[in-house]
Symmetry: C2
Subunit: 457 residues, 2 copies
C-alpha cells in the first residue's frame, strides 16, 4: 500500500511530509546512540480530528504511530520505527485558554513550555514544571514523559499539574480524561495513567493544566564544597531542618572544569562541588537556615543572594554544564533517582564506575530530589570509548537499583532504559503493564517497542 | 461449598468471622440508603500473605472480595455483596516506618488517618490529607477513595501523597507499585491508577506516603455574609488576589441554624453564610489580603484570629454541622465539585432544588475547591420525604454536570454515584474503564458492582 497516497485521502496534502531529507529531523530525539529508522511519512496535523484520522488510518493498515513533541527527549521515546507514521504537533501550538479564576490553562500539545509559562505570567499565574528543555520542549512531550525540572523538589512534576487530557486512543476514539474542577474522583484516574506513558497508550491532543499564582521572588543560596560527601551532608541538613527549598542543585568538579574551559569562570579553582539552593518562602528564615546548613556541612564558601543578576550568574554554571560538556564529545545522559540520603553514596559509586570503565562522567543533580544526571562523555568517533560508556551506563543503573532507586527519575524509559525497566519491575508488574497496554491499545499501533520491547519481557 | 470451612484451611481460625451478629457492623459504610447484603464471612487478616491467601481463595471459588477500612465512606463503596468476603484491615494497623530524611512513611492500610498524623508530628513531619473522617478513617480507605479534606485547596488530595503501594491484584499476585524515591517515571503510573479505584482493581496491603515538614502556625480569617453570592464573591476575590489559602470553608444558614438549635452558639442571628479561611504562609500578608477580600465582598463582620482557641471555636460551626443535622434525621450527603467560580450559582440551584422537592438541604462546602456537600435531611421513617430527597440528589448531580462539574469531588462513586458516573463519562471512556478493570481483575472478583454496575453500563 502507498502510505502517502493513502494519507492524502484522509488529510489535506500539506499535512504530510514524505521527502527523506525533509523527514530526517523528525526521526529521532536527543538520546545519544538510541536506534531509529526511516518513517513512512511525517504527519503534521492541525486539529484533533486530523489526529484521529491519522490514528484510524494507522489502525486500518496496522502502521505504527510515533507521536512527537520537540524531540528534546533523552531516552529515544520519540524515535521513528521503520515504516511508521511520525505525528509532529508543531502545527498544534495554541494556548487555547487561560482562566485566572479557575487557575487553569488549556493548551494544544505543541505549545512550548516557556511559551505557556510566559502566557501565564502575563496573567499573574505560574505553570511550575521547568525541565531544562523548557525553551524548546512542548507540553505534549512534557506530559508524555512526565517531565520534571529544577523546581520539582518543592512543586512536583508535570503529573501534579495535569488536570485533564484529550486523547486519541489506540481504538481510534477521541476521549476526554480528567476534569476542569479542582477536585474529582469520578472513575479511574486514567488521566494520571496517560501521563508518562510515552505515547504508548494514547495520542495527546489537548492538555488542561493546573496553575499557581505567581510566586514570591526567590533568593539563591550558593555553597562551595570540597567533596560530594560534604555537599550531601548539606542536602541532608536542609531536609532535617524542615526546609523544602524551591531548588537544590548540585554541580560537580567535572562540570565546573568544562564550564571553566569554555567560559573561564574560575569555578573549579574555588570548589570541587557547588550546591545551588533557592527559596521562595516569604521572609528570610529559610534562606538563613539553608545558609547555616551549608556552613555547618563544611562549605568553603557560602552566601545568600537576593540580587537577581548575581543569582543568575551562579545558576549559569549549572545551565552551561551540559553544552560545555557537549563541546568535548557526545554526551550520554543518565537519569537515575535514589533516596535523597543516598546521593553521596551514589556519587561515590559513579566515580568508581567512571574509573572502572575509563569513562569521563560529570554530574549534575537535582540533589534535593535524589535525581542524578551523570553525563557520560566520549571522544567523537571513538567506538571503544562508546562501548565502555555504555557499560558504565548499565553499571550506574544497577547501583541506583541497589540503593533503592529507580532507573529513570524524569527522562522516561524510551529505548535506552528498557533493560533497566525489566530489572526494576517484577514479573507480575510487567504483566500488569502489558495488560494495560493491551486494554488501551489492543492493536499495538501506538509507539510500539517503546518502554518495553514488542513481544518480549 | 462451605466458605467458612474453606477459609479455615488457608487462614488461622481467629481471622474469620461468620456469626451474623458479629458480621453486622462490617456490612455497610455510612452512605444513607445504599444497598448491602449479608456476607459469607468477614476476614481480618494480619499480613499481606494472609490477604493474598484470601484473594486466591476467592479466585479459586469465584467469590467477591469487598475490602474495607473503617466504614466511614459515604457512597456505599465498602458495602457487602451477597455471599462475599469482607476483608477488614483493622488488624493491619501498624505504622511500619517514618523516615524523616526521605520524608516518607510506610503504613499498613488499617492505620487511622489521625494516628498517622500524630506519629508524623512527633517527628516534626506532616501528612496533609485531612478528611473530616480523620479521627476514624484509615489510610487504606483514604487511598481507595482518594480522600480529600479541608487543606486540599492548598495541599492537594490523597493521591498527591501516595508514593507507593503494595497491592494484591485480581490475579492473586502481590505487587509493589510506585516507589520510595522523590521522583520516578519507570513504567506506567499504576500506583496512581489504583488510588481512588475503590477496591475494584486491587486490594491495598501497604501504603508509602510522602510527607511534608511541619508547617507554620495557621491564622484563621472568618467572615459573616448575608448571601451566598457575597460569600462566593469573597472566594473569587481571594483567588484573584493570588492567594491560595490553606483552607476556605463555607457553612450556610441551614447548618448554622442546626448548630444553634443544638449548641446555642447564636451564629444564625449574626450571619446567613459563614466563610472560614486559613493561611499558613509565613508573614501577615495573606491574612490581611484575605480579610480585605472578605470585607470588599460585603462581609457584615470579618476578622483575623491568630488565637488558636478562638480559631477553633470558629471552626466548630463547620465541624458540628453534620452531627447537628443528623439530630434532625437521616442525612444523605452529596459531594459534587464545580469550577470554583460557579459555587454561588450552584448554591442557588441547590436552593431551588430544595424548594422543588420540598427537601431540607443544608450546605457545607470546600468553597476554595468548588467542592460542595449539600446535606439532604429527611424526617426519620418518612418514606415520601426519602423519595423526594433522592430525586433532589439526582437533580443536584445534573446541575453540577451542567455547570462543568463532577458528580463526586472526594467521596467516590461507590453505589450511590453509579448513575452519575454514566452521565459524566462518555461511552468510549466507560469502555476504557471496563477494559482496565478486565486487565487488572480478569475474574471480576474485586468489589464487583461498585463504581460501575456488573455487566451493564
Amino acid at each position: 500500500m502507498d502510505v502517502v497516497a493513502g494519507l492524502g485521502r484522509v488529510l489535506p496534502a500539506d499535512r504530510v511530509l514524505a521527502d527523506p531529507d525533509a523527514m530526517r529531523r523528525y526521526l529521532h530525539d536527543e538520546a545519544e546512540w538510541a536506534e531509529y529508522a526511516p518513517a513512512a511519512a511525517v504527519v503534521r496535523p492541525r486539529s484533533t480530528a486530523e489526529v484521529q484520522a491519522v490514528v484510524r488510518f494507522a489502525l486500518e493498515h496496522r502502521i505504527a504511530v510515533v507521536p512527537r513533541g520537540a524531540g528534546t527527549g533523552l531516552s529515544g521515546g520519540a524515535n521513528a520505527l521503520a515504516g511508521c507514521l511520525v505525528v509532529s504537533f508543531e502545527a498544534m501550538d495554541s494556548v487555547l485558554e487561560i482562566d485566572p479564576a479557575e487557575r487553569l490553562a488549556v493548551v494544544q500539545p505543541g505549545v512550548v513550555n516557556d511559551d505557556l509559562r510566559a502566557a501565564c505570567a502575563e496573567r499573574g499565574l505560574w505553570y511550575p514544571p521547568d525541565p531544562a528543555s523548557s525553551p524548546w520542549s512542548t507540553i505534549g512531550g512534557n506530559v508524555a514523559t512526565n517531565a520534571g525540572g529544577v523546581c520539582c523538589v518543592k512543586y512536583g512534576v508535570t503529573k501534579d499539574y495535569v488536570l485533564g487530557l484529550e486523547v486519541v486512543t489506540g481504538r481510534g476514539d477521541v476521549v476526554r480524561l480528567g476534569r476542569r474542577t479542582a477536585k474529582g474522583v469520578a472513575g479511574y484516574d486514567l488521566c494520571a495513567l496517560l501521563v508518562g506513558s510515552e505515547g504508548t497508550l494514547g495520542v495527546i491532543t489537548e492538555v488542561t493544566v493546573r496553575l499557581l499564582p505567581r510566586r514570591a521572588a526567590e533568593r539563591t543560596i550558593a555553597g562551595y564544597f570540597d567533596s560530594v560527601v560534604a555537599a550531601g551532608e548539606a542536602v541532608s541538613a536542609v531536609a532535617a531542618a524542615g526546609v523544602v527549598p524551591s531548588a537544590l542543585e548540585l554541580v560537580d568538579r567535572h562540570c565546573l572544569e568544562a564550564v571553566d574551559a569554555w567560559k573561564n569562570m574560575g569555578l573549579s579553582v574555588e570548589a570541587n562541588v557547588v550546591l545551588l539552593g533557592r527559596t521562595d518562602t516569604p521572609g528570610d528564615d529559610e534562606a538563613a537556615t539553608m545558609l547555616a546548613c551549608f556552613e555547618q556541612a563544611g562549605a568553603s564558601w557560602a552566601a545568600v543572594s537576593s540580587d537577581e543578576h548575581e543569582a543568575e550568574a551562579l545558576f549559569q554554571a549549572r545551565r552551561l554544564a551540559y553544552p560545555a560538556l557537549e563541546r568535548l564529545g557526545p554526551v550520554l545522559t543518565e537519569d537515575v533517582c535514589v533516596p535523597r540520603s543516598k546521593v553521596p553514596e551514589m556519587l561515590a559509586r559513579i566515580g568508581k564506575t567512571a574509573a572502572a570503565h575509563d569513562t569521563r562522567i560529570a554530574n549534575i543533580a537535582h540533589a534535593g530530589d535524589g535525581n542524578l544526571h551523570p553525563l557520560l562523555i566520549t571522544p567523537i568517533g571513538d567506538e571503544d570509548a562508546r562501548r565502555r560508556a555504555q557499560a558504565a551506563f548499565e553499571d550506574i543503573i544497577a547501583d541506583a537499583l541497589d540503593l533503592g532507586g529507580t532507573v529513570t527519575g524524569e527522562h522516561g524509559v524510551g529505548l535506552l532504559k528498557r533493560p533497566g525497566l525489566r530489572r526494576e519491575l517484577s514479573e507480575p508488574v510487567l504483566d500488569l503493564h502489558h495488560a494495560v497496554k493491551a486494554a488501551l491499545d489492543p492493536s499495538g499501533i501506538l509507539n510500539p517497542g517503546k518502554v518495553f520491547s514488542r513481544g518480549t519481557r
